[in-house]
């Protein structure tokens, strides 16, 4: 239990199914380990009902939608009844704008951890404006995209591992035979992966997961069924080399994308060795002594050749990666960071229904720079101020050009704040 953080009541509505489902549970577990009072709403238990609705023909989408709305309302009313401090949503958790607005009026903080690619789904566009904070696993343009659709606060929060589940295991012979391989891959059959494996036949490769070509019988394990989280831990542990190839959206076989997937952290937490394709944020999370990074097909071929013969190197790298995860990349560490971003300086939670501002602690330019993360224009404007300088509007206004040159967008935004303040003073709604 973390004695530094105040105990909070946190409601965690899970998705009904999919890759983000276990992540919701990992987050809930982490909140609990941090000493919070956590209420998990296991909406995956409604998945069979959700699937059942699919059998009624044309009305199926509408019925499924109504079920999702009902679950969203239930999460909302549960949080209100519990006087929750926070409702923590994960991508694909049932949520509606109406529920978020009701929670806001009730003074309850809401957050969304969007653990998916903003380019691949667009449902988030309709809801991000109504969360108090949106966490993204992507660097670069993703934050801007979220802001453009109204997200008030966007924070980079990469994936993680749960050491309670993803850990070194002693593998029984039967499991090693079933799950182990010289080279393994666990994941869905995205087109770039299918194309890569077609182009690069890897001997002794075992593939686990869904949506692969059914004729790949020799490599595709157990008819391409979904594997459980526990099974993935067994596979990672039992395999000499784990291939970790991120899905690509642009037709490239190995795309240098803008996020690091959960698998990277899970394999490392298991103390297992991985070959991973380069992603933009990867170097900040792991270095070359911990994970073997490949940037091209040639790299991949060479690495497979090299590391398949060097058990010592594999073990050493795997252990270093595992220690890195335990130090920096667990869900407990992520959720601590998430709570600190939501409740800076461990501010108390205002439960009044008309809550507008948070705690009365002094804010600095560092806080504004964090709030403006991903917005290059605003970051450049704020770079004129020291991190520990107090975040006062007059200080920002003092840097406006005052008619001597064209204003940047960031300067216009500061001017807008200044004009709204004056307007509010003139109208008597702001005390000068």
């Amino acid at each position: 239990m973390d004695m530094r953080l105040p105990q909070r009541t946190i409601v965690v509505p899970t998705p009904l199914y999919g890759g983000s489902l276990p992540i919701a549970y990992h987050a809930a577990s982490a909140f609990e380990q941090l000493g919070n009072n956590v209420h998990v709403l296991p909406f995956d238990s409604a998945y069979s009902l959700y699937e059942l609705f699919g059998g009624v023909g044309a009305m199926a989408p509408r019925l499924k939608g109504r079920l999702a709305e009902l679950l969203a309302d239930f999460a909302c009313e549960t949080a209100i009844a519990l006087h929750a401090d926070l409702v923590w949503y994960t991508a694909q958790s049932p949520v509606t704008v109406a529920a978020l607005q009701r929670l806001r009026e009730a003074g309850i903080t809401t957050a969304l951890w969007f653990v998916e690619d903003v380019r691949r789904f667009d449902y988030w566009r309709h809801i991000v404006a109504d969360f108090d904070c949106v966490y993204t696993i992507q660097v670069g343009d993703a934050a801007e995209a979220l802001r453009q659709h109204g997200a008030r606060k966007v924070v980079y929060l990469p994936m993680a591992a749960n050491p309670a589940l993803h850990r070194p295991l002693t593998i029984a012979d039967a499991d090693r035979l079933r799950y182990g391989a010289p080279v393994s891959f666990v994941g869905a059959g995205y087109p770039n992966r299918v194309a890569l494996f077609e182009r690069l036949p890897i001997p002794d490769l075992k593939i686990w997961g869904n949506d692969w070509p059914t004729e790949w019988n020799s490599r595709l394990q157990e008819n391409g069924r979904r594997v459980t989280s526990e099974e993935t831990a067994l596979i990672y542990n039992a395999s000499k080399i784990n291939l970790n190839l991120h899905s690509a959206v642009n037709g490239e076989l190995l795309m240098r994308g803008d996020f690091v997937n959960p698998r990277t952290f899970e394999i490392a937490a298991c103390g297992a060795f991985q070959l991973v394709n380069d992603q933009a944020p990867l170097a900040d999370l792991f270095d070359d002594s911990e994970v073997a990074v490949v940037r091209s097909l040639q790299d991949l071929v060479s690495a497979l050749e090299r590391f398949s013969k060097d058990e010592g190197m594999r073990s050493a790298m795997a252990e270093r990666a595992r220690q890195r995860v335990l130090r920096e990349h667990t869900y407990v560490q992520r959720m601590r960071a998430a709570l600190e971003a939501l409740f800076p300086n461990h501010g108390t939670v205002d439960r009044s229904p008309q809550k507008a501002a948070r705690s009365t602690a002094l804010y600095t330019m560092r806080d504004l720079k964090d709030a403006a993360w991903g917005d290059a224009d605003m970051q450049e404007f704020l770079s004129q101020f020291a991190d520990n300088e107090r975040a006062a509007l007059d200080t920002l206004v003092s840097k406006l050009p005052n008619g001597t040159r064209s204003m940047t967008r960031a300067e216009m935004i500061v001017l807008l704040m200044k004009e709204f303040r004056q307007w509010g003073v003139d109208k008597g709604v702001i005390v000068a």
Partner: protein, 517 residues
């Protein structure tokens, strides 16, 4: 799809009054999809506007709450989100009908080309569109606004819009079946007890007195208002008086208007809802409300306009628009009701107010006010002349008998000529400077003349706004100014004649029952 963003961070009545402008945008082919930027408190009424396709909501509670820095972090993220929200869709047309400084910055953030007030890249105020320059100018001289707000907004888009297409519309606001009333018995009166701004309010004791008088005559009353009545309110407890104050939504008010026979109110949002349902109206103006600008946009409404004393001699200011509404007596409102509903003529002393009727202007598309009880002769004369002047100067109406013989017309003409000389200036800097100086001198002369007459202060203000809003290089600016001064010169005959009438009026004997400034 051609998208338009309309910045309308304003109140309920104003939102209804811009509705015809939104239709004009679509009719003119300038928009197929309109997003309206409104404050959260007015989402309900904005949702009732038929031409609005989407709403962008500004939450004042969120963006104003921590600006003074006393609690919480500066809402930089909220402002960034607002900025992103207004630019995320590419808008072919941007209109700003709000005249506040924050709205100018929003317009500047939203895009480069806009109709209405915005900021140039250096942060200087620019007002694009002559009619909205006029609107801005009359904000500082409100008694001298000669056009209804609906007409100003519509004229900013399409001045030729027919009168029938200028009437504000709301969703499902078609009037209900109203019985023909011949007397007070059973007359259903919708009585609005307040106004959004205290200076426009008719005193509550007057409303209470009116309610008693109506009940004595056999009428039924539904009392509405934004706030519940205080415990010491002056309204009687009566079976035919229904207190709905503080309990009605916008849709409720629309429905009440459809059921009622008449509404009595100070200038307020519900007045404009009533006008949209074609409910007969008796409106008490006063304070910051002035009938010529804010009268309900429907025919045959009666508006009681308090006289602002010495209005033709008083230096206009933003803060003084009308005399207080309290000068309008209950007897006058009762008499206006009788006139409106039963056609009974009125004989009342009206030194302090005039009762106007809203009518269609047959000369200039739009709403006009005709005095039906009392008169404010000199003021009304000025208003007629000003209306003609502006219709010709910026409204595109032809000036059939243009004459540049009058003093003001000559001064405008002189400015036009000097501006043309600047436009034709040779490349010599000295020559250009000399001609620019000559133009400035001519403009100073014109300003001095205009400022001698309180009724023309807003004309001077308009010219300053137009001057500071011209864009482009020196030649283009000079061409634009030359065209403007020339049009004003052709139209200034109306101002010179008004001036002559004023001089003549001071020597005329006036009947004791007519209010004359």
């Amino acid at each position: 799809m051609k998208r338009a963003l309309v910045i309308a961070i304003t109140r309920l009545g104003d939102l209804i009054q811009i509705e015809p402008m939104l239709r004009a945008l679509k009719a003119a082919g300038r928009a197929e999809h309109i997003t309206l930027l409104v404050e959260r408190s007015f989402v309900e009424i904005a949702s009732e506007l038929p031409s609005v396709d989407d709403l962008q909501v500004v939450d004042f509670a969120k963006i104003l709450g921590t600006l003074n820095g006393s609690s919480g972090v500066l809402p930089v993220a909220d402002y960034m989100a607002l900025s992103h929200a207004i630019v995320r869709e590419k808008h072919a047309t941007l209109v700003n009908v709000t005249h506040t400084r924050p709205s100018m910055v929003l317009a500047a953030l939203a895009g480069e080309d806009s109709i209405g007030v915005t900021l140039d890249p250096e942060g200087h105020q620019v007002v694009n569109n002559s009619w909205l320059q006029y609107f801005f100018a009359t904000n500082l001289a409100r008694p001298w606004c000669s056009f209804n707000l609906v007409d100003i907004y519509v004229n900013a888009i399409t001045p030729q819009t027919r009168f029938a297409d200028r009437k504000p519309q709301l969703l499902d606001s078609a009037p209900g079946q109203r019985a023909v009333r011949r007397d007070w018995q059973g007359l259903k009166v919708l009585l609005h007890a307040g106004a959004s701004q205290s200076d426009k309010q008719w005193p509550e004791h007057s409303v209470g007195e009116l309610a008693k008088a109506l009940l004595d005559r056999g009428a039924s009353i539904a009392l509405i208002g934004a706030r519940r009545l205080e415990s010491n309110h002056p309204f009687p407890t009566h079976a035919r008086l229904q207190d709905l104050t503080g309990r009605t939504s916008v849709r409720d008010v629309i429905e009440l208007c459809r059921q009622a026979d008449v509404m009595v109110s100070a200038d307020s949002g519900p007045v404009h809802i009533a006008a949209a349902t074609r409910l007969p109206l008796v409106v008490i103006e006063g304070g910051s409300a002035h009938a010529f600008e804010t009268a309900p946009y429907d025919l045959n409404a009666l508006v009681l306009q308090p006289h602002l004393s010495d209005v033709t001699k008083r230096i206009p200011s933003k803060s003084v628009t009308s005399a207080p509404a309290e000068v309008v007596p209950v007897t006058a409102v009762l008499a206006a009701l009788e006139l409106r509903m039963f056609g009974e003529p009125i004989a009342l002393p009206t030194r302090e107010y005039t009762i106007y009727e809203t009518r269609e202007d047959r000369n200039v598309p739009g709403l006009m006010l005709a005095p039906v009880v009392g008169t404010h002769r000199a003021y009304e004369s000025w208003q007629r002349r000003l209306r003609r002047f502006w219709s010709q100067a910026i409204g595109g109406e032809a000036s059939l008998n243009a004459s540049v013989e009058g003093e003001i017309a000559r001064l405008f003409s002189d400015c036009a000529q000097q501006a043309q000389r600047v436009s034709r200036a040779a490349s010599s800097v000295a020559t250009l400077q000399a001609r620019a100086n000559a133009l400035s001198a001519a403009e100073r002369n014109l300003q001095a003349r205009l400022l001698r007459q309180p009724a023309l202060h807003h004309v001077a203000q308009f010219l300053q706004i137009a001057r500071s809003s011209v864009q482009g290089d020196v030649a283009r600016q000079a061409d634009a100014l030359a065209a403007l001064y020339s049009a004003c010169s052709m139209a200034a005959d109306a101002l010179d004649k008004a001036n002559s009438e004023m001089i003549n009026m001071t020597y005329r004997n006036t009947p004791s029952l007519e209010g004359v400034a």
